[in-house]
Protein backbone atom coordinates (compact mmCIF):
# COMPACT_ATOMS: atom_id res chain seq x y z
CA UNK A 1 0.00 0.00 0.00
CA UNK A 2 2.80 2.39 -0.76
CA UNK A 3 0.49 4.94 -2.34
CA UNK A 4 -1.11 5.33 1.06
CA UNK A 5 2.26 5.64 2.76
CA UNK A 6 2.63 8.94 1.03
CA UNK A 7 -0.61 10.14 2.48
CA UNK A 8 0.08 9.22 6.06
CA UNK A 9 0.84 12.05 8.41
CA UNK A 10 4.15 12.26 10.23
CA UNK A 11 4.41 14.45 13.26
CA UNK A 12 6.65 17.30 12.14
CA UNK A 13 6.21 21.04 12.09
CA UNK A 14 7.19 23.39 9.38
CA UNK A 15 5.74 26.61 8.04
CA UNK A 16 3.69 24.54 5.62
CA UNK A 17 2.29 22.41 8.45
CA UNK A 18 1.17 25.48 10.25
CA UNK A 19 -0.86 26.83 7.36
CA UNK A 20 -4.60 26.76 7.69
CA UNK A 21 -5.87 23.53 6.16
CA UNK A 22 -8.72 25.35 4.48
CA UNK A 23 -6.26 27.52 2.58
CA UNK A 24 -4.14 24.50 1.72
CA UNK A 25 -7.22 22.80 0.41
CA UNK A 26 -7.96 25.83 -1.75
CA UNK A 27 -4.46 25.56 -3.15
CA UNK A 28 -5.00 21.87 -3.92
CA UNK A 29 -8.29 22.66 -5.60
CA UNK A 30 -6.64 25.34 -7.75
CA UNK A 31 -3.91 22.89 -8.76
CA UNK A 32 -6.59 20.40 -9.62
CA UNK A 33 -8.58 22.81 -11.74
CA UNK A 34 -5.55 24.24 -13.55
CA UNK A 35 -4.25 20.76 -14.22
CA UNK A 36 -7.56 19.83 -15.77
CA UNK A 37 -7.36 22.83 -18.11
CA UNK A 38 -4.27 21.64 -19.87
CA UNK A 39 -3.65 18.73 -22.10
CA UNK A 40 -0.28 20.03 -23.14
CA UNK A 41 2.88 18.68 -21.68
CA UNK A 42 4.78 21.85 -20.83
CA UNK A 43 2.29 23.58 -18.55
CA UNK A 44 1.77 20.33 -16.67
CA UNK A 45 5.48 20.01 -16.20
CA UNK A 46 5.53 23.51 -14.78
CA UNK A 47 2.74 22.56 -12.39
CA UNK A 48 4.66 19.51 -11.30
CA UNK A 49 7.78 21.45 -10.43
CA UNK A 50 5.79 24.26 -8.87
CA UNK A 51 4.73 22.01 -6.00
CA UNK A 52 8.21 20.92 -5.12
CA UNK A 53 9.13 23.98 -3.05
CA UNK A 54 6.22 23.04 -0.76
CA UNK A 55 7.56 19.55 -0.38
CA UNK A 56 11.03 20.78 0.52
CA UNK A 57 9.81 23.52 2.84
CA UNK A 58 7.69 20.99 4.66
CA UNK A 59 10.53 18.50 4.93
CA UNK A 60 8.44 15.61 3.63
CA UNK A 61 10.57 14.63 0.63
CA UNK A 62 10.82 10.94 1.54
CA UNK A 63 7.12 10.36 1.98
CA UNK A 64 6.33 12.42 -1.10
CA UNK A 65 8.67 10.33 -3.20
CA UNK A 66 7.05 7.21 -1.82
CA UNK A 67 3.62 8.39 -2.85
CA UNK A 68 4.88 9.11 -6.34
CA UNK A 69 6.48 5.71 -6.53
CA UNK A 70 3.20 4.17 -5.50
CA UNK A 71 1.44 5.97 -8.29
CA UNK A 72 3.86 4.67 -10.93
CA UNK A 73 1.68 1.72 -11.81
CA UNK A 74 -1.40 3.82 -12.51
CA UNK A 75 0.67 6.45 -14.31
CA UNK A 76 2.07 3.83 -16.65
CA UNK A 77 -1.38 2.43 -17.18
CA UNK A 78 -2.74 5.84 -18.14
CA UNK A 79 0.13 6.38 -20.53
CA UNK A 80 -0.28 3.03 -22.22
CA UNK A 81 -4.02 3.35 -22.44
CA UNK A 82 -3.91 6.79 -23.99
CA UNK A 83 -1.18 5.84 -26.39
CA UNK A 84 -2.82 2.64 -27.58
CA UNK A 85 -6.26 4.18 -27.80
CA UNK A 86 -4.94 7.17 -29.66
CA UNK A 87 -3.00 4.96 -32.03
CA UNK A 88 -5.95 2.84 -33.02
CA UNK A 89 -8.36 5.72 -33.33
CA UNK A 90 -5.89 8.00 -35.06
CA UNK A 91 -6.91 11.01 -32.99
CA UNK A 92 -3.55 12.62 -33.41
CA UNK A 93 -1.86 13.64 -36.64
CA UNK A 94 1.60 12.54 -35.76
CA UNK A 95 3.19 9.94 -33.56
CA UNK A 96 5.06 12.65 -31.72
CA UNK A 97 1.84 14.47 -30.89
CA UNK A 98 0.31 11.27 -29.58
CA UNK A 99 3.34 10.56 -27.48
CA UNK A 100 3.22 14.04 -26.05
CA UNK A 101 -0.44 13.73 -25.28
CA UNK A 102 -0.05 10.40 -23.52
CA UNK A 103 2.86 11.75 -21.51
CA UNK A 104 0.84 14.82 -20.62
CA UNK A 105 -2.08 12.73 -19.37
CA UNK A 106 0.17 10.63 -17.18
CA UNK A 107 1.84 13.74 -15.90
CA UNK A 108 -1.51 15.30 -15.15
CA UNK A 109 -2.44 12.34 -12.99
CA UNK A 110 0.90 12.62 -11.27
CA UNK A 111 0.33 16.31 -10.56
CA UNK A 112 -3.03 15.52 -8.98
CA UNK A 113 -1.58 12.76 -6.81
CA UNK A 114 1.27 15.04 -5.88
CA UNK A 115 -0.89 17.93 -4.76
CA UNK A 116 -3.16 15.74 -2.63
CA UNK A 117 -0.13 14.03 -1.23
CA UNK A 118 1.40 17.33 -0.19
CA UNK A 119 -1.88 18.30 1.41
CA UNK A 120 -2.22 15.16 3.48
CA UNK A 121 1.46 15.00 4.35
CA UNK A 122 1.44 18.49 5.77
CA UNK A 123 -1.88 18.46 7.53
CA UNK A 124 -2.33 16.56 10.76
CA UNK A 125 -5.65 14.78 11.14
CA UNK A 126 -6.59 16.89 14.13
CA UNK A 127 -5.77 20.04 12.24
CA UNK A 128 -7.90 18.74 9.41
CA UNK A 129 -10.79 17.85 11.65
CA UNK A 130 -10.58 21.27 13.23
CA UNK A 131 -10.83 22.81 9.78
CA UNK A 132 -13.85 20.63 9.06
CA UNK A 133 -15.46 21.65 12.33
CA UNK A 134 -15.03 25.29 11.52
CA UNK A 135 -16.38 25.06 8.03
CA UNK A 136 -20.07 24.50 7.59
CA UNK A 137 -19.73 20.72 7.78
CA UNK A 138 -22.19 19.36 10.38
CA UNK A 139 -20.40 18.11 13.48
CA UNK A 140 -21.63 14.54 13.04
CA UNK A 141 -19.53 14.17 9.90
CA UNK A 142 -16.43 15.72 11.38
CA UNK A 143 -16.79 13.49 14.39
CA UNK A 144 -17.18 10.44 12.17
CA UNK A 145 -14.05 11.44 10.29
CA UNK A 146 -11.94 12.07 13.38
CA UNK A 147 -13.08 8.91 15.11
CA UNK A 148 -12.41 6.89 11.97
CA UNK A 149 -8.86 8.26 11.75
CA UNK A 150 -8.33 7.64 15.44
CA UNK A 151 -9.35 4.03 15.15
CA UNK A 152 -7.47 3.15 11.98
CA UNK A 153 -4.37 1.97 13.87
CA UNK A 154 -6.57 0.14 16.37
CA UNK A 155 -8.48 -1.71 13.68
CA UNK A 156 -5.27 -2.52 11.82
CA UNK A 157 -3.86 -4.10 14.95
CA UNK A 158 -7.06 -5.95 15.58
CA UNK A 159 -7.10 -7.32 12.05
CA UNK A 160 -3.58 -8.62 12.63
CA UNK A 161 -4.59 -10.22 15.93
CA UNK A 162 -7.59 -11.88 14.33
CA UNK A 163 -5.43 -13.23 11.55
CA UNK A 164 -3.01 -14.61 14.11
CA UNK A 165 -5.82 -16.17 16.11
CA UNK A 166 -7.25 -17.93 13.08
CA UNK A 167 -3.85 -18.98 11.79
CA UNK A 168 -3.34 -20.55 15.18
CA UNK A 169 -6.39 -22.70 14.43
CA UNK A 170 -4.88 -23.95 11.24
CA UNK A 171 -6.28 -21.42 8.82
CA UNK A 172 -3.92 -21.03 5.89
CA UNK A 173 -4.36 -17.77 4.09
CA UNK A 174 -1.82 -18.28 1.37
CA UNK A 175 -2.94 -21.61 0.07
CA UNK A 176 -5.57 -22.61 -2.41
CA UNK A 177 -7.02 -21.20 -5.58
CA UNK A 178 -8.47 -17.73 -5.80
CA UNK A 179 -11.94 -18.73 -4.69
CA UNK A 180 -10.69 -20.63 -1.70
CA UNK A 181 -8.48 -17.76 -0.68
CA UNK A 182 -11.38 -15.35 -0.74
CA UNK A 183 -13.44 -17.77 1.38
CA UNK A 184 -10.55 -18.01 3.82
CA UNK A 185 -10.97 -14.36 4.65
CA UNK A 186 -14.42 -14.89 6.10
CA UNK A 187 -13.01 -15.99 9.48
CA UNK A 188 -11.10 -12.73 9.47
CA UNK A 189 -13.84 -10.42 8.32
CA UNK A 190 -16.62 -11.61 10.56
CA UNK A 191 -14.81 -11.13 13.87
CA UNK A 192 -13.56 -7.78 12.59
CA UNK A 193 -17.05 -6.62 11.73
CA UNK A 194 -18.60 -7.97 14.92
CA UNK A 195 -15.85 -6.30 16.91
CA UNK A 196 -16.45 -3.03 15.10
CA UNK A 197 -20.13 -3.19 15.93
CA UNK A 198 -19.44 -3.92 19.59
CA UNK A 199 -16.94 -1.13 19.67
CA UNK A 200 -19.44 1.31 18.16
CA UNK A 201 -21.92 0.44 20.87
CA UNK A 202 -19.38 1.10 23.60
CA UNK A 203 -18.32 4.32 21.95
CA UNK A 204 -21.93 5.45 21.71
CA UNK A 205 -22.44 4.76 25.41
CA UNK A 206 -19.34 6.75 26.27
CA UNK A 207 -20.40 9.61 24.02
CA UNK A 208 -23.86 9.81 25.51
CA UNK A 209 -22.36 9.75 28.98
CA UNK A 210 -20.30 12.78 28.06
CA UNK A 211 -23.32 14.86 27.15
CA UNK A 212 -23.41 14.22 23.41
CA UNK A 213 -26.30 16.09 21.89
CA UNK A 214 -26.66 18.51 24.77
CA UNK A 215 -26.69 21.45 22.43
CA UNK A 216 -26.74 22.14 18.73
CA UNK A 217 -24.14 24.84 19.27
CA UNK A 218 -20.95 23.09 20.19
CA UNK A 219 -18.01 25.16 21.26
CA UNK A 220 -14.45 24.27 20.48
CA UNK A 221 -11.25 24.07 22.48
CA UNK A 222 -9.31 25.47 19.54
CA UNK A 223 -10.02 27.99 16.86
CA UNK A 224 -8.29 28.30 13.53
CA UNK A 225 -7.03 31.76 12.87
CA UNK A 226 -5.89 32.82 9.47
CA UNK A 227 -2.50 34.42 9.58
CA UNK A 228 -0.25 36.25 7.15
CA UNK A 229 1.07 33.06 5.58
CA UNK A 230 -2.47 31.85 4.96
CA UNK A 231 -3.50 35.05 3.24
CA UNK A 232 -0.37 34.94 1.13
CA UNK A 233 -1.06 31.40 0.01
CA UNK A 234 -4.67 32.22 -0.64
CA UNK A 235 -3.70 35.21 -2.79
CA UNK A 236 -1.10 33.16 -4.64
CA UNK A 237 -3.61 30.42 -5.33
CA UNK A 238 -6.16 32.81 -6.74
CA UNK A 239 -3.56 34.57 -8.83
CA UNK A 240 -2.34 31.28 -10.12
CA UNK A 241 -5.85 30.27 -11.05
CA UNK A 242 -6.24 33.49 -12.98
CA UNK A 243 -2.90 32.93 -14.68
CA UNK A 244 -3.92 29.41 -15.59
CA UNK A 245 -7.12 30.59 -17.18
CA UNK A 246 -5.30 33.27 -19.10
CA UNK A 247 -2.62 30.94 -20.42
CA UNK A 248 -5.14 28.33 -21.38
CA UNK A 249 -7.29 30.67 -23.42
CA UNK A 250 -4.90 33.23 -24.72
CA UNK A 251 -1.45 31.79 -24.96
CA UNK A 252 -0.42 29.24 -27.50
CA UNK A 253 1.67 26.58 -25.93
CA UNK A 254 4.61 25.20 -27.85
CA UNK A 255 4.27 21.54 -28.53
CA UNK A 256 7.02 19.17 -27.56
CA UNK A 257 6.97 17.56 -30.97
CA UNK A 258 8.82 20.60 -32.24
CA UNK A 259 11.79 19.38 -30.24
CA UNK A 260 11.48 15.72 -30.92
CA UNK A 261 12.56 13.87 -34.09
CA UNK A 262 9.64 12.77 -36.25
CA UNK A 263 8.17 9.40 -35.42
CA UNK A 264 7.86 6.73 -38.09
CA UNK A 265 4.08 6.93 -38.29
Amino acid sequence: MSVFEGFRFRRVTSPIHRLDPRVKFLYVLVMFVVAIFFTEFLPLLVLFFLQMPFVFLAGVEREWLRSLRGAVFLVTLIFVFNFVFGYFYRTYPTGAALLEFSLAMSLRFLVLVESFSVFFLTTSPDHLSLALEQSRVPYEFTFAFTTAVRFVPVLAEEAQTIMDAQKARGLELERGNFLKRVRNYIPILIPLIVSAIRRSLELAEAMESRAWGASSKRTNLYVLKMRLGDFVLMALSIMFLALGVYVHFFVSIPSLSQFLPPFPF
Binding site: A165, A168, R169, G170, L171, P187, I190, V194
Partner: protein, 274 residues
Protein backbone atom coordinates in the same frame (compact mmCIF):
# COMPACT_ATOMS: atom_id res chain seq x y z
CA UNK B 1 9.16 -29.87 24.27
CA UNK B 2 9.71 -26.20 23.56
CA UNK B 3 13.19 -24.81 23.52
CA UNK B 4 13.97 -21.13 23.20
CA UNK B 5 17.62 -20.37 22.42
CA UNK B 6 18.82 -16.83 22.87
CA UNK B 7 15.95 -15.26 20.98
CA UNK B 8 15.84 -11.66 19.91
CA UNK B 9 12.78 -10.11 18.34
CA UNK B 10 11.93 -6.62 17.17
CA UNK B 11 8.55 -5.53 15.89
CA UNK B 12 8.33 -3.67 12.55
CA UNK B 13 7.52 -0.55 14.54
CA UNK B 14 11.02 -0.73 15.96
CA UNK B 15 10.14 -1.91 19.43
CA UNK B 16 12.67 -4.48 20.64
CA UNK B 17 10.39 -6.88 22.45
CA UNK B 18 12.77 -9.77 23.20
CA UNK B 19 16.41 -9.24 24.09
CA UNK B 20 18.10 -12.55 24.39
CA UNK B 21 15.60 -14.96 25.90
CA UNK B 22 16.41 -18.58 26.61
CA UNK B 23 13.97 -21.05 28.08
CA UNK B 24 13.18 -24.75 28.06
CA UNK B 25 9.73 -26.14 28.66
CA UNK B 26 9.53 -29.88 29.09
CA UNK B 27 6.68 -32.19 28.16
CA UNK B 28 3.80 -31.97 30.58
CA UNK B 29 5.10 -28.93 32.41
CA UNK B 30 2.90 -26.18 33.74
CA UNK B 31 4.48 -22.78 33.25
CA UNK B 32 3.22 -19.29 34.04
CA UNK B 33 4.87 -16.47 32.13
CA UNK B 34 4.47 -13.32 34.14
CA UNK B 35 5.37 -9.67 34.06
CA UNK B 36 3.99 -6.25 33.46
CA UNK B 37 2.05 -5.34 30.35
CA UNK B 38 4.69 -4.78 27.70
CA UNK B 39 7.35 -7.02 29.23
CA UNK B 40 7.38 -9.33 26.22
CA UNK B 41 5.27 -12.22 27.52
CA UNK B 42 2.86 -12.45 24.60
CA UNK B 43 5.68 -11.84 22.14
CA UNK B 44 7.55 -14.77 23.60
CA UNK B 45 4.68 -17.24 23.50
CA UNK B 46 3.78 -16.27 19.96
CA UNK B 47 7.09 -17.80 19.01
CA UNK B 48 5.92 -21.17 20.32
CA UNK B 49 3.45 -21.71 17.52
CA UNK B 50 5.37 -19.89 14.87
CA UNK B 51 3.22 -16.79 14.65
CA UNK B 52 6.44 -14.91 15.19
CA UNK B 53 9.83 -16.07 14.06
CA UNK B 54 12.93 -14.95 15.95
CA UNK B 55 15.17 -12.34 14.37
CA UNK B 56 18.14 -13.92 16.07
CA UNK B 57 18.32 -17.20 17.91
CA UNK B 58 16.08 -20.19 17.53
CA UNK B 59 12.90 -21.71 18.81
CA UNK B 60 12.56 -25.48 18.67
CA UNK B 61 9.33 -27.36 19.07
CA UNK B 62 9.90 -31.09 19.57
CA UNK B 63 13.36 -30.62 18.18
CA UNK B 64 12.40 -28.86 14.98
CA UNK B 65 13.10 -25.19 14.41
CA UNK B 66 9.99 -23.07 14.01
CA UNK B 67 11.60 -21.44 11.03
CA UNK B 68 11.20 -24.72 9.17
CA UNK B 69 7.55 -25.19 9.95
CA UNK B 70 4.41 -23.34 8.97
CA UNK B 71 2.10 -21.90 11.60
CA UNK B 72 -0.56 -24.43 10.66
CA UNK B 73 1.83 -27.36 11.28
CA UNK B 74 2.97 -25.93 14.59
CA UNK B 75 -0.57 -25.07 15.65
CA UNK B 76 -1.43 -28.75 15.42
CA UNK B 77 0.97 -29.35 18.29
CA UNK B 78 0.74 -26.07 20.13
CA UNK B 79 -2.74 -24.68 20.66
CA UNK B 80 -3.10 -20.98 21.37
CA UNK B 81 -6.12 -19.52 23.10
CA UNK B 82 -6.14 -15.78 22.58
CA UNK B 83 -7.14 -13.27 25.18
CA UNK B 84 -10.28 -12.08 23.47
CA UNK B 85 -12.53 -14.90 22.27
CA UNK B 86 -14.31 -12.49 19.97
CA UNK B 87 -11.20 -12.44 17.83
CA UNK B 88 -11.87 -16.05 16.92
CA UNK B 89 -15.61 -16.58 16.88
CA UNK B 90 -17.28 -16.33 13.50
CA UNK B 91 -19.40 -19.43 12.94
CA UNK B 92 -23.14 -19.80 13.04
CA UNK B 93 -23.17 -22.39 15.76
CA UNK B 94 -20.90 -23.42 18.58
CA UNK B 95 -20.62 -26.80 16.92
CA UNK B 96 -19.24 -25.26 13.72
CA UNK B 97 -16.86 -23.14 15.71
CA UNK B 98 -15.35 -26.15 17.41
CA UNK B 99 -15.21 -28.06 14.13
CA UNK B 100 -13.32 -25.26 12.40
CA UNK B 101 -9.88 -26.10 13.69
CA UNK B 102 -10.49 -29.81 13.26
CA UNK B 103 -11.41 -29.35 9.62
CA UNK B 104 -8.42 -27.13 8.98
CA UNK B 105 -6.16 -29.88 10.24
CA UNK B 106 -7.74 -32.40 7.92
CA UNK B 107 -9.62 -34.59 10.36
CA UNK B 108 -12.20 -36.91 8.81
CA UNK B 109 -15.87 -36.06 9.21
CA UNK B 110 -16.52 -38.92 11.63
CA UNK B 111 -13.58 -37.92 13.84
CA UNK B 112 -14.67 -34.29 13.72
CA UNK B 113 -18.08 -35.26 15.06
CA UNK B 114 -16.61 -37.28 17.89
CA UNK B 115 -14.13 -34.61 18.82
CA UNK B 116 -16.80 -31.92 18.80
CA UNK B 117 -18.94 -33.99 21.15
CA UNK B 118 -15.96 -34.51 23.40
CA UNK B 119 -14.99 -30.86 23.49
CA UNK B 120 -18.56 -29.70 24.14
CA UNK B 121 -18.76 -32.09 27.04
CA UNK B 122 -15.36 -31.12 28.42
CA UNK B 123 -16.25 -27.44 28.64
CA UNK B 124 -19.84 -27.99 29.69
CA UNK B 125 -21.24 -26.54 26.49
CA UNK B 126 -23.41 -29.36 25.20
CA UNK B 127 -26.60 -27.40 25.73
CA UNK B 128 -25.25 -24.67 23.49
CA UNK B 129 -24.35 -26.95 20.63
CA UNK B 130 -26.66 -25.32 18.14
CA UNK B 131 -26.53 -21.83 19.63
CA UNK B 132 -24.86 -18.97 17.88
CA UNK B 133 -21.67 -18.11 19.75
CA UNK B 134 -22.60 -14.44 19.55
CA UNK B 135 -25.63 -15.06 21.73
CA UNK B 136 -23.57 -16.38 24.61
CA UNK B 137 -22.26 -14.46 27.60
CA UNK B 138 -18.63 -13.41 27.88
CA UNK B 139 -17.66 -16.34 30.07
CA UNK B 140 -19.41 -18.81 27.80
CA UNK B 141 -17.68 -17.42 24.73
CA UNK B 142 -14.36 -17.91 26.45
CA UNK B 143 -15.25 -21.54 26.99
CA UNK B 144 -16.17 -21.94 23.33
CA UNK B 145 -12.83 -20.52 22.27
CA UNK B 146 -11.07 -22.87 24.65
CA UNK B 147 -13.12 -25.84 23.45
CA UNK B 148 -12.35 -25.05 19.83
CA UNK B 149 -8.62 -25.20 20.54
CA UNK B 150 -8.67 -28.27 22.78
CA UNK B 151 -10.78 -30.12 20.23
CA UNK B 152 -7.81 -31.08 18.12
CA UNK B 153 -5.96 -32.23 21.23
CA UNK B 154 -2.71 -30.32 20.87
CA UNK B 155 0.24 -31.49 22.91
CA UNK B 156 0.62 -28.06 24.44
CA UNK B 157 -1.83 -25.27 25.15
CA UNK B 158 -0.98 -21.62 25.55
CA UNK B 159 -3.50 -19.39 27.27
CA UNK B 160 -3.00 -15.66 26.90
CA UNK B 161 -4.39 -13.77 29.89
CA UNK B 162 -7.27 -16.18 30.49
CA UNK B 163 -8.47 -14.45 33.65
CA UNK B 164 -9.21 -11.00 32.30
CA UNK B 165 -12.75 -9.83 32.93
CA UNK B 166 -13.67 -12.89 34.94
CA UNK B 167 -15.21 -12.91 38.36
CA UNK B 168 -13.73 -14.82 41.26
CA UNK B 169 -15.76 -17.95 40.76
CA UNK B 170 -15.05 -18.12 37.04
CA UNK B 171 -11.35 -17.80 37.76
CA UNK B 172 -11.56 -20.60 40.26
CA UNK B 173 -13.30 -22.86 37.73
CA UNK B 174 -10.72 -22.01 35.13
CA UNK B 175 -7.91 -22.70 37.53
CA UNK B 176 -9.26 -26.12 38.33
CA UNK B 177 -9.74 -26.86 34.67
CA UNK B 178 -6.21 -25.88 33.78
CA UNK B 179 -4.75 -27.94 36.58
CA UNK B 180 -6.83 -30.87 35.37
CA UNK B 181 -5.57 -30.41 31.81
CA UNK B 182 -2.03 -30.41 33.02
CA UNK B 183 -2.75 -33.42 35.14
CA UNK B 184 -3.75 -35.26 31.97
CA UNK B 185 -0.32 -34.70 30.55
CA UNK B 186 -0.73 -31.57 28.51
CA UNK B 187 1.98 -28.97 28.53
CA UNK B 188 0.29 -25.79 29.70
CA UNK B 189 1.68 -22.29 29.36
CA UNK B 190 -0.30 -19.46 30.88
CA UNK B 191 0.56 -15.85 30.20
CA UNK B 192 -0.84 -13.73 32.97
CA UNK B 193 -0.31 -10.84 35.31
CA UNK B 194 -2.79 -12.30 37.79
CA UNK B 195 -0.57 -13.14 40.72
CA UNK B 196 -3.32 -14.62 42.87
CA UNK B 197 -4.26 -17.01 40.11
CA UNK B 198 -0.69 -18.19 39.80
CA UNK B 199 -0.29 -18.42 43.55
CA UNK B 200 -3.25 -20.77 43.70
CA UNK B 201 -1.91 -23.05 40.97
CA UNK B 202 1.73 -23.02 42.06
CA UNK B 203 3.24 -23.70 38.61
CA UNK B 204 6.75 -22.97 37.45
CA UNK B 205 7.00 -19.23 37.06
CA UNK B 206 8.98 -17.34 34.44
CA UNK B 207 9.24 -13.67 35.26
CA UNK B 208 9.85 -11.25 32.46
CA UNK B 209 10.72 -7.61 32.35
CA UNK B 210 11.64 -5.42 29.42
CA UNK B 211 12.20 -8.24 26.99
CA UNK B 212 14.29 -10.42 29.27
CA UNK B 213 13.69 -13.23 31.71
CA UNK B 214 14.60 -11.93 35.14
CA UNK B 215 13.73 -15.02 37.13
CA UNK B 216 12.53 -18.56 36.87
CA UNK B 217 11.47 -21.09 39.41
CA UNK B 218 8.77 -22.40 41.67
CA UNK B 219 5.93 -19.94 42.20
CA UNK B 220 6.51 -20.05 45.91
CA UNK B 221 10.10 -18.93 45.56
CA UNK B 222 9.82 -16.44 42.70
CA UNK B 223 6.68 -14.61 43.73
CA UNK B 224 7.87 -14.10 47.27
CA UNK B 225 11.24 -12.65 46.42
CA UNK B 226 10.75 -8.91 46.63
CA UNK B 227 13.81 -8.00 44.56
CA UNK B 228 12.42 -10.11 41.73
CA UNK B 229 8.85 -8.89 41.97
CA UNK B 230 10.12 -5.35 42.03
CA UNK B 231 12.28 -5.94 38.97
CA UNK B 232 9.34 -7.44 37.08
CA UNK B 233 6.93 -4.79 38.35
CA UNK B 234 4.46 -7.27 39.73
CA UNK B 235 2.64 -7.27 43.02
CA UNK B 236 3.31 -10.22 45.37
CA UNK B 237 0.36 -12.47 46.31
CA UNK B 238 -1.96 -11.23 49.08
CA UNK B 239 -0.77 -13.74 51.65
CA UNK B 240 2.86 -12.97 50.94
CA UNK B 241 2.15 -9.29 51.43
CA UNK B 242 0.89 -10.03 54.92
CA UNK B 243 4.07 -11.86 55.83
CA UNK B 244 6.38 -9.28 54.32
CA UNK B 245 5.60 -7.00 57.25
CA UNK B 246 6.21 -9.71 59.86
CA UNK B 247 9.81 -10.67 59.19
CA UNK B 248 11.04 -9.16 62.43
CA UNK B 249 9.03 -11.80 64.27
CA UNK B 250 11.08 -14.46 62.58
CA UNK B 251 8.26 -15.54 60.33
CA UNK B 252 9.08 -16.75 56.80
CA UNK B 253 8.03 -14.80 53.72
CA UNK B 254 7.78 -17.55 51.15
CA UNK B 255 4.13 -18.16 51.93
CA UNK B 256 1.50 -17.93 49.23
CA UNK B 257 -1.24 -20.21 50.46
CA UNK B 258 -3.86 -19.34 53.08
CA UNK B 259 -3.81 -22.74 54.76
CA UNK B 260 -0.05 -22.68 55.05
CA UNK B 261 -0.25 -19.17 56.47
CA UNK B 262 -2.74 -20.36 59.06
CA UNK B 263 -0.52 -23.25 60.04
CA UNK B 264 2.58 -21.09 60.39
CA UNK B 265 0.80 -18.52 62.50
CA UNK B 266 -0.88 -21.10 64.70
CA UNK B 267 2.46 -22.81 65.25
CA UNK B 268 3.99 -19.48 66.13
CA UNK B 269 1.27 -18.74 68.66
CA UNK B 270 1.66 -22.19 70.17
CA UNK B 271 5.35 -21.48 70.45
CA UNK B 272 4.63 -18.15 72.10
CA UNK B 273 2.40 -19.73 74.71
CA UNK B 274 5.16 -21.97 75.98
Amino acid sequence: MIEVRDVYFTYPTGVEALKGVSLTIGDGEFVAVMGQNGAGKTTLVKHFNGLLKPARGEVLVDGVSTRDMSVAKLARKVGFVFQNPDHQLFCETVEEEIAFGLRNFGFEAATVEKRVDWALNLLDLTEYRKTSPFMLSGGERKRVALASVLAWDPKAVILDEPTIGQDHRQKENLRQFIVQLNGQGKTVVVVTHDVEFVAECNPRVVLMSEGKIVAEGEAKKTLTDTTLTLAASIVPPQITQIFLGLTDFGLPIDVIDVSEAKRILLDYFEGMKR
